[in-house]
Symmetry: C2
Subunit: 218 residues, 2 copies
C-alpha cells in the first residue's frame, strides 16, 4: 500500500534545475519521455536534420526553446532516443528468451524467438527508436557510436551460439559471421517496406525468414 500524495504536491515540488536524466518514473508528468517519443517519431519520418527542435517542441505543446531545458542539445536528444531504443530492445530480447526457456527449444526454435522479437522491436507498436538508431547513425559522434556499438554487441550476443549450433548441424550453410550480417540486413531492411496495415503478419514474416535462412522449420 502506497501513501497518497496530494496532486498539488508534485507540482509544488518540481525542481528548478535540470531534472534527473534517468528514465525512472515514466508517469504522466514525464515531459522528458514525451519529448523522447515525439522526437523518435519525427526523426524516423523526416530524418534528424530535417526535423527542427521547434517541430519536436510543438509536437508536445512546448515553446521553441523548451526542449533545451530537458536536453543539452538536439544531438543529445537523438542519442537519447537511440540509447533508449537499444536498452529496451535488449530487455525485451532477454524477456523473450526467458519466457521460452520452459519449452527448452532447440537452436531453430531459439532462432525463431530471436527473429520474432526482432520484428516486434522493429515493426511493432512504438517502434520508432530502433529504426532511428539504424538509419541516423551518421548524425552522432564517434564516441556515442562506440557506446552504441557495445549495446549492439550485447544485443547480438545471444544470436551467436544459436547460429553456430545451426551451422554445425548443417542447417545454416553460410559462414556464421557473414550469415549474421546478412540476416540482420534482411530483417532490418523490413523497416523500409513493412506496412502494419496490410500484407503479412509478424508471425508470417518470421516463418518466411526462417525458411529462407535455414529451410523448413519442421
Amino acid at each position: 500500500m502506497e501513501i497518497a500524495v496530494p496532486p498539488s504536491a508534485d507540482v509544488a515540488k518540481r525542481p528548478r534545475g535540470r531534472p534527473r536524466k534517468t528514465a525512472e518514473d515514466p508517469g504522466d508528468g514525464n515531459r522528458r519521455g514525451e519529448l523522447l517519443r515525439s522526437a523518435a517519431r519525427l526523426f524516423r519520418r523526416k530524418g534528424f536534420d530535417a526535423t527542427s527542435t521547434r517541430d519536436i517542441a510543438a509536437a508536445v505543446g512546448m515553446q521553441s526553446g523548451s526542449p533545451f531545458y530537458h536536453f543539452k542539445s538536439k544531438g543529445a536528444l537523438l542519442y537519447a532516443v537511440m540509447e533508449e531504443g537499444m536498452r529496451s530492445a535488449i530487455d525485451r530480447q532477454q524477456m523473450a528468451l526467458l519466457r521460452a526457456e520452459l519449452a527448452a527449444p532447440d537452436a531453430a526454435g531459439r532462432l525463431r524467438i530471436l527473429i520474432r522479437n526482432h520484428f516486434d522491436v522493429l515493426l511493432g507498436p512504438d517502434s520508432d527508436f530502433i529504426p532511428v538508431m539504424l538509419y541516423e547513425a551518421r548524425s552522432i559522434t564517434p564516441r556515442q557510436r562506440a557506446t552504441l556499438a557495445q549495446l549492439q554487441s550485447e544485443y547480438e550476443a545471444p544470436w551467436v551460439p544459436v547460429l553456430e549450433a545451426l551451422h554445425r548441424g548443417g542447417r545454416l550453410k553460410a559462414e556464421v559471421k557473414l550469415a549474421r550480417l546478412l540476416i540482420f540486413g534482411a530483417l532490418n531492411w523490413s523497416a523500409q517496406w513493412y506496412d502494419r496495415r496490410k500484407g503479412a503478419s509478424l508471425d508470417e514474416l518470421t516463418n518466411e525468414a526462417i525458411r529462407l535462412f535455414i529451410g523448413d522449420a519442421t
Copy 2:
C-alpha cells in the same frame, strides 16, 4: 588516333544558356557530371540535409551559386543522382546477364550473376549513387518516388523468374515475394557495414549469400 584540340577552343565554345540535361558526352569538360559525382559522394557520407549546395560547389571548385546553373534546385540534384544510379544499375545488370548467357546457366547460376552484380553496383568503385537512392528516398517528392519505383521494378524484373524457378525446384523454401524483399534487404544492408579495404571480397560475399539463401551452390 584523336585529333588534338587547342585547349582554348573548348573554353571558347562553352555555351551561354543552360547546358543540355542529358548524360551524353561524359567527357572531361562535363561539369554537370562532376557535380553529380561529388553530390553522390557527399550525400552518401553526410546525408542530403547535412550537405549544403556550397559543399558540393566547393568540391568541384565552383562558387556557391553556380550549381544552380546546372540544376534547378538541390532536390533536382538529388533526384538526378538517384535516377543516374538506377539507369546505370539496370544497364550493368543487363550486360552481366548477356555476358553469362553463353554459359547457359541454370537458375542458381543466374542468381549468382544477379547477386554478384548487385554487390558490384552497391560496393564497387564509384558506388555512391545507389546507396544514396536507398537511404535518402525520404527527401524526394512522391512524384519522383513513383518514377524511381518504376525503374526499381525494371531492375528487379529479372530476379523474379529466377526466384520462382528456385522455389519450384525446392531450393528456395520461402515464398517468392517475401524472399525477394528479405534478400534485397540482406544485400542492401551491406552498404552499411562492408569495408572494401578489409574482410571478404565481393566474390566471397556472393558465395556466402548464395549459401544462406539456397544452400550450397554446387
